[in-house]
Amino acid sequence: DNGLRVVVSPTPGLGVVAVNLWYDVGSRHESPHRQGFAHLFEHLMFQGSRHVKSGDHFALLQGHGAALNATTSFDRTNYFESMPAGVLDVALWLEADRMAYLDDALTQENFDNQVDVVAQERSQRMDNVPYGTVFEKALPLVFDADHPYGHLPIGNMSHLGEATLDEVSAFHATFYMPNNAVLSIVGDVSEEEAFGKADEYFGHIPAGAAPDRKLPAPLEPVTGARRLDVLEDVPSPAIWFAYRLPADTATGRELSAVRLATSIIGEGETSRLHRRLVRRDQIAMSAGLGLNPLIAGNSLGVGSVRAVPSQDLDEVAATFGAVVAEFADEGPSELELNVARASAERDWLDEMGTAAGRADALSSCALLFDDPDLLNERLHVLRSVTADEVRAAAQLWLCAGGNAQVRVLPSKTDDVEALG
């Protein structure tokens, strides 16, 4: 009765059960002055709650053979654990305790510690990695800096340094409540038992004032030159291309058409980009194009090319553009369309191969579109999209509109003239 949506998918005899919670909060909900807060908050969810001591969340679950973690993305935050079936109650109890009573356990010491840990996470994933900050630079170019998708979930460390413990409580009060979440339970548990346990552990938590979902209007594809050139200590020149794409929706037909297009243009060794830039022209070590489905107005497309050393990037950008334009002009061949469909079906099978994967996919469909059955429906949509739809989608979203580009030039070689 508290508005928590519960999805159950039993797999008798599996021995394993997965719990997965999606909360309808991600980096797009952050204040412009607190970029990275949703992710920092996610870290604090592991520091204990009213009945759980700091450190016990991991210890209780891992100590019984569970695997667990959480991730923060643009649109949502998910918390998940997979474990032997007999540990299910412990997982549900821990999730319920931190949904209801995080405040009681928050301390300045834990808060300061996790601000430090997140800074090291950022260093390890981005700042101390070649090309590690390019994607971050592309976002405010393709969207504007104040757009919900204008910054990465990892965020801005100086914003986090200014944040206070009170803001953590306020964030929890605003976004963490049963009626702003989906709970999926998948694996070796009966339907009746799973719903019973969900009620037993979460039923006492009162509903809150869930925030309305405010989605910005869709943006047209990028127009004009949006480009940033940076000099970095990298071994080879590279370009990232960012595209505004149609938002993900329940049936997602238009985005499915774009997905097939990006797959044919830029996914794997059969793709047009690979065959042209890596194999035929041999101006790149790798070349690809993919998409990140999102709901707030637009999805995001990202292409990237790692050029061979000393390669002129103007030529790379021109060739990339020509490959996309040619595809948008002629559309996919029957072989290409069949390859793209086979690839999508394979990805889907991989995702369905573990209880954790099924639980995450169910949570996604239920939270974003209020319909867990879309999990199967969306594959049918992908199969039914026609070559004409794929061509039209590529024409509109990848070709007629432009893209934002970030070019990375090696700072320590004589490649600087390639700045072009």
Binding site: G13, L14, G15, V16, H51, G55, F58, A59, Q62, G63, H64, G65, A66, A67, S82, P84, A85, G86, V87, D89, V90, W93, N113, Q114, V115, D116, V117, A119, Q120, S123, Q124, R125, D127, N128, Y201, G203, H204, P235, S236, G268, E269, T270, V278, R279, Q282, M285, R306, V308, P309, L335, V339, A342, E345, R346, L349, D350, M352, G353, T354, A355
Partner: protein, 451 residues
């Protein structure tokens, strides 16, 4: 409704068992191990050859890796692009890999395309094109990737660690070779490598997936049964010594915001009778989120996103490695902390820590082998290291018997906290002095390509 204030009870699981193997042998000598895994509709398969990396000629190291790359670039009647299309239409992936203990051709495919995908695997192994143009392109890409990898601090730390630990053996040097040895490899070397070392009599096909609608053994025999090639006899394995001298290797990484660290010394093999006890000890010291090392470096000091220790093995050899990346200005303190934790662990592993480690490492088995790919990966590793395919169940049974006393004894026997190799990839100008003052061992400076 009352709110529960303490964790609910855990219902113990029945002892999980590794999927049972259906074993057979094709008349041409290929051993087949098939594992039926209900619900796994993506089949994983690995055709494993008994070819250790140490058989590569010293001046052409990288020839195995380059052969692996070239095998899937056209085969049978298909060009490279036609071959890639055929695989993609199956929804399949096919890759070959050369590693220290073996050479494997690995397939993953929806079970509905199994027959067609196995035919493509057979083409790659039995009838590879090894086309001249494809060879030259793969060689160029391989050289570029070696160069690229050296821009990544974690990769450099790993290469430097191997170089410092493994003396003059093959394991001391990069698996894919170095530019000087790759440059001189010619297409004929790749053709010779494949001809000499890929042969049915040293091959094992390991396959796992939901085989309720397909006879996988028959499919494998149909695809590979006609192969009769004979190459060179399998090579003897050379034992390897691991460094037991305290040493610090510093690799300069200008302006690094973090230092990437590896701290390592000898471990033991999975065949050692103390393996399970040491595994449990390692779990407590650094093998899980709540371990001693991660608790200090991450949850108390906040100097890292994560720190862990692991036991790595290959045939006849084992090492224990602590790995992390820490805030640059905490580098010397952090390596000292790690060594102190390793020292203080000797004799102090508690009954609680050991019981938790035993429970965690045994009860996670069903989860760890949920995917067909994980089942095949483990069997491949066991066979390559000379262990029996049924080792997983034996290992789990022995893990359950580990006591605190056994864990402490194994740790004391194996781990030598004052004879470790420490690799630091970070800003040398700031680190030279503090690492020397630490006084752990001689500090030697190396550059990224220096292996």
């Amino acid at each position: 409704m009352t709110v529960r204030t303490a964790p609910p009870p855990v219902h113990p699981a029945d002892d999980w068992r590794f999927p049972a193997a259906e074993e057979s042998r094709i008349p041409n000598g290929i051993r087949v191990l098939a594992y039926h895994c209900p619900g796994q509709h993506v089949v994983a398969a690995s055709l494993l050859f008994d070819v250790p990396l140490e058989i590569e000629p010293r001046d052409k190291e990288g020839v195995a890796a380059l052969t692996a790359r070239c095998l899937v670039r056209g085969a049978g009647t298909r060009t490279a692009e036609e071959f890639a299309d055929a695989l993609a239409l199956c929804g399949a992936d096919l890759d070959a890999a050369a590693f220290s203990d073996g050479f494997a051709v690995r397939l993953s495919t929806p079970v509905t395309s199994l027959g067609a995908a196995l035919d493509l695997l057979a083409d790659a192994v039995v009838r590879p094109a090894l086309d001249d143009g494809e060879f030259e392109h793969e060689k160029a890409l391989h050289l570029q990737e070696i160069d690229q990898a050296r821009a990544y601090p974690q990769h450099v730390a790993g290469e430097q660690l191997n170089a410092a630990l493994f003396g003059t053996s093959r394991s001391a040097r990069p698996g894919g070779g170095v530019p000087a040895t790759v440059e001189v490899i010619e297409r004929a070397d790749v053709v010779a490598f494949a001809g000499d070392h890929l042969q049915p009599r040293t091959a094992t096909m390991i396959a796992a997936g939901d085989f309720s609608t397909v006879d996988v053994t028959t499919e494998i025999e149909r695809a590979l049964g006609g192969w009769s090639h004979q190459g060179l006899p399998p090579a003897d394995k050379v034992p390897i010594d691991v460094s037991q001298t305290a040493q610090v290797i510093l690799v300069d990484w200008p302006d690094a915001p973090q230092s990437t660290l590896r701290v390592a010394g000898p471990g033991i093999t999975r065949a050692d009778e103390a393996w399970q006890a040491l595994f449990v000890a390692n779990y407590a010291v650094g093998g899980n989120f709540s371990s001693r090392i991660n608790t200090v470096l991450r949850e108390q000091k906040g100097v890292t996103y994560g720190a862990n220790s692991s036991l790595d093995t290959s045939r006849g050899i084992g090492i224990m490695t602590v790995g992390t990346a820490v805030r640059a200005d905490e580098t010397a303190q952090s390596v000292a902390d790690i060594v102190d934790i390793l020292r203080s662990a000797a004799g102090t592993l508690t009954a609680d820590e050991v019981a938790t480690a035993v429970r965690a490492t045994t009860e996670s088995a069903a989860l760890g082998f949920e995917r067909a790919e994980a089942v095949v990966g483990r069997v491949e590793m066991l066979l390559a290291q000379g262990l029996p395919a049924d080792h997983v169940d034996v290992n789990l049974a022995r893990l359950r018997e580990v006591t605190a006393e056994a864990a402490n004894t194994a740790y004391a026997r194996v781990v030598r906290p004052d004879q470790l190799t420490v690799v630091v990839v970070g800003e040398a100008g700031d680190l030279r002095e503090p690492l020397s003052s630490w006084g752990y061992g001689p500090v030697r400076e190396a550059s990224p390509g220096d292996v």
